[in-house]
Symmetry: D2
Subunit: 351 residues, 4 copies
Amino acid sequence: MIRVKVVGATGYGGVGITELVLQHPEAKLCALVARDDVGHKISDVYPHLDGFCDMPVLAADDPNANEPADVVFFSTPDQVGMHDARKELSKGAKVIDYSGDFRFTTSEAYADYATRIGKSPAHASPDLLGSNAYGLAELHRAEIAQAKIVGNPGCFACSCILGMAPAVKHAIVEPYSIICDCKTGVSGAGKKVSPTFHYPARYEQMNAYKLAGHQHVCEVERELSLQAGRDIKVTFTAQVVPVCRGILSTLYGTLTAPMTEAEVITLYREFFKESPFVRIYGSTAAIGTLHVRGTNFCNLIVSVDTRVNRLRIVAHIDNLMKGQAGSALQNMNLMFGLPENMGLHRSGIYP
Amino acid sequence: MIRVKVVGATGYGGVGITELVLQHPEAKLCALVARDDVGHKISDVYPHLDGFCDMPVLAADDPNANEPADVVFFSTPDQVGMHDARKELSKGAKVIDYSGDFRFTTSEAYADYATRIGKSPAHASPDLLGSNAYGLAELHRAEIAQAKIVGNPGCFACSCILGMAPAVKHAIVEPYSIICDCKTGVSGAGKKVSPTFHYPARYEQMNAYKLAGHQHVCEVERELSLQAGRDIKVTFTAQVVPVCRGILSTLYGTLTAPMTEAEVITLYREFFKESPFVRIYGSTAAIGTLHVRGTNFCNLIVSVDTRVNRLRIVAHIDNLMKGQAGSALQNMNLMFGLPENMGLHRSGIYP
Amino acid sequence: MIRVKVVGATGYGGVGITELVLQHPEAKLCALVARDDVGHKISDVYPHLDGFCDMPVLAADDPNANEPADVVFFSTPDQVGMHDARKELSKGAKVIDYSGDFRFTTSEAYADYATRIGKSPAHASPDLLGSNAYGLAELHRAEIAQAKIVGNPGCFACSCILGMAPAVKHAIVEPYSIICDCKTGVSGAGKKVSPTFHYPARYEQMNAYKLAGHQHVCEVERELSLQAGRDIKVTFTAQVVPVCRGILSTLYGTLTAPMTEAEVITLYREFFKESPFVRIYGSTAAIGTLHVRGTNFCNLIVSVDTRVNRLRIVAHIDNLMKGQAGSALQNMNLMFGLPENMGLHRSGIYP
Amino acid sequence: MIRVKVVGATGYGGVGITELVLQHPEAKLCALVARDDVGHKISDVYPHLDGFCDMPVLAADDPNANEPADVVFFSTPDQVGMHDARKELSKGAKVIDYSGDFRFTTSEAYADYATRIGKSPAHASPDLLGSNAYGLAELHRAEIAQAKIVGNPGCFACSCILGMAPAVKHAIVEPYSIICDCKTGVSGAGKKVSPTFHYPARYEQMNAYKLAGHQHVCEVERELSLQAGRDIKVTFTAQVVPVCRGILSTLYGTLTAPMTEAEVITLYREFFKESPFVRIYGSTAAIGTLHVRGTNFCNLIVSVDTRVNRLRIVAHIDNLMKGQAGSALQNMNLMFGLPENMGLHRSGIYP
């Protein structure tokens, strides 16, 4: 059994991976670490776990939190994992970090990202960069399988990259024409309270935010440029919608040459033929984010506006699953040589 | 493997049992029957099942729908199962019916119920009554295990009966003092559209309905009277709240003698000690319906208003799980000698 | 024109009275005071006011905040108005306070209330008690018209008192039999963020809280006892439902003698015949909280469970209007000799 | 007083204009006509109107429905008003139609629209085309003031046209580069029930629809082309979000030459300087659809993605107000020589 330690266990990303590990046939929890609620049972913090996981929340320096683990999930804010990963690695663990700390493989790329989020541009462990992998399994399966450290993708980024990767790979869209119009449920902002996510302030409210620049743009452009083999730039709009879970990203790009919807679908299905969590649909499919809630799927609708020769992809994910804990578990499976979808093969519930 | 046939497969109760059977280690679907969407794949009707269950929806008289099954779930409106159960029984299947058709064991009790819902009071198969069991496992485990037909409880009724059964069993509340103030999410009304459940008409709307008398009162009073060994009458209020899943039932009864909260908790824990899906909490527990969503649990808060000597129980269930498909699967497990919680031991996801 | 000063202008109660005064033909805002956002325009804090009210938010000691006003609304937490009212009174203003500070007319009654909410039981201005009025216009119209200080009722209390006042006045229910099962939208908790009211924690969540005792019980029992002319005790349950605005209070009481619904309706209509904001309905009315949203109405459904001889009243209000700012403006109208419904005669919008 | 007749009074568009006329100082309702609920009081259909408007719903051929009116609002589906407007005109009334029937001034333009919505392309009253005006006051104030018939704009169209009109007028964006990514609340689909808008099917659901082509594209392209003086084509995506009211349209266009946000804001403010219902904000404004709910405002955020030289406008309206009944009343004001914002100068309520 893979021994799993979760750091940041009391946040949404932490409870998400905890839920998944509890149902995974080859993994078990060995320690839950957090800064809040230390000494409480996790099932006091999250009562739905009552009887499923009643382990205590431990402080980072608690001896019980420092027994050897096989994998450590850092469900922590930016610039935590970059400091603490080394110690875990030295004890033989593999590391999966949810933040931006290990999404980039050079100090320069990291500095660009860190600057955008108003953090110090210096990476605390630059020597570890290069040995890490970007944790989007559909594009980096082999590297993830070899990596000691995986930087789990941002939730918006995940939907945008999966939605546009085949198109840029095959150069069917103009490289500077891409627009990512993204809508997220409120859980994407995490567990921390703020006036913006106070229930009454959010009820019947839709809005755009961070119009000046969202940090996920870095990884979207980096990944799409990698696929394209040339520079890709995108216009990115983040919007919040009053649901709990779900990202709906509508992606646009000008076609370099006319194509039919059927042709694009063929190309997308071929691209994702080894990816069990990506499902491709035509433009008449009656699907929405509710159909991926609680699952690790990314559903993509392919549509072509032939009047103006524009490709339009609608990507649907659960921001806390494929956009966070689900991808993290998928990465763990790959890192330990297990089937990619172990513990993740679930349909969700409806309605 | 238990071969499962679902009649009424395209409603919420049908898709609920379909989801559960797909994850059950000892059962498999053999036929999905419905009146709507015949000929379509169930995954076209419910796209979240795409890749999990792509079986066709069959008409009731389709030969493929009439291969032998070990159990047939009738997720159908009142007065369907009472006609069709006999044929399934004759082929050797056991029957679990979601409607009121088999919740009562005498023609008289059924007639009372049927009258309330504006249906013909005559039961179509009165000879089958008496061999059926009321499908609330926590109170009728042994009978369910022996029964060929189980009448699955109503969703409101499930929460009220579980919440008050220990109190009336031990005669700690006055028999005519019980009030059931029940709030349900909208999915309790099923898949059928109506102006009342149209999204804009329901947004930011709370209301009481059927104040003149709700059909679930019959089974609540019957079951509580059975536990009490004397006549129990309740005042029942049904209310709708704009969420999808969840029932919150606040139950009141005048104590026959002063008791502390701790004493009542002890009594309730003892009553439910063999019931894996009932969890008992004190009055300071910070729990709500979200903590049972997607699960088969019934969480009960025990509280005593000592100023006026009144017991107050707050019951939380997922109306589509413990209130419907979850209880149905729990009953199947009992009828086939399997552990009661097989395929149901799940915590749900949060948030 | 009545010059209006609002203290606590940046909270929900403050913006509510600001919106109302902006549309009132005989009143105008003269100062907006708050602790947060001082120096900002109120329309920066609440952008829907852009172009309607662009006054600055002032600190309490700002000279511009201390020009004479005719009425001062204290939309402030408990134990603010009790300190600051005197100064406003001395300048000739009348005072309407939203908190519990002036809901009680004796030091003893206040101490009971304050103890429940964990505050010091000593009132800071006990000499002012006795000259204040309880601001529920339907029951205290004449006193409010004479008072210099009005203590605006609690939102839950408003619904419970209006719903049960006729019944206890006419002694048709047993004095210790009353149960108030109350459900509120989240805005009732105000603007202050908390983990409990964080959007994802509240989505698809219903729960009871403060089961050990809610502070509104004091004023409900005091007011109902006053109407009854004898001691009344109630069991009170506060519950939160994930909408923004609305209170649905279902009130129960054992009838002292059998009565029909029609008889009770007659009695209620007579009781409220001078009250423009109370509408009485029979048990088949298809109404809910959405039908009073944004208005000052209290809609009451009357129902009798004849099987067990129990009266049931369903009260519907907008917690921020009749439950807060609407009642406050209604009180202002009375205090200044204006028609009770001036500036409040609005239907709301649907859906 | 302007006598107002509403046809289609029981739909959302009908009740919307009814609410507005009730508060308008120069207009009064003279007849409410509908196909459903004939003979019932409108306040039985919409209980929030109880005491405000208790007029009966009349059949179209009821004599009381055919007394002379000064203005008739057709809040009816496509191809109703085109038949019935003539009779009203002949009696001296002016006509405001909510459907597409009078949004186009030539038979050809109408035929293109009608084909898109699957209707007969032939206009029933082609001779009336040409004398009608497109009811977007901000662009057609003078024509509306002269017109006998006004075709009220589509809700999505209203947001897209207002958002892009200044940009195309000044030719600052490439004519075929425009993308309209539109999200609407569910009330945009009207009062008619459907499985798609059933509450549980819509809860926590976001989705795109009509990807093959939405009928509002016709009028968006026509109006923008008129402003530009050249052909404009747009890619349009309609999406539904689970709120009741609100449209958030994010509009993109490639700048023909680099511009700063400040320059574009200046240009937009100049364009709308006579328009009381358009408010212009910079990219850091913390506004959303909640801030225009219940009002006739269109709030526009201006943003420039300088990295790729792209203009981005975020338009916020209430789909039932500026997107429907509010614009209709604004048009009535113009047609009768009244101030444009009479009866519409309201801030809405928050939260």
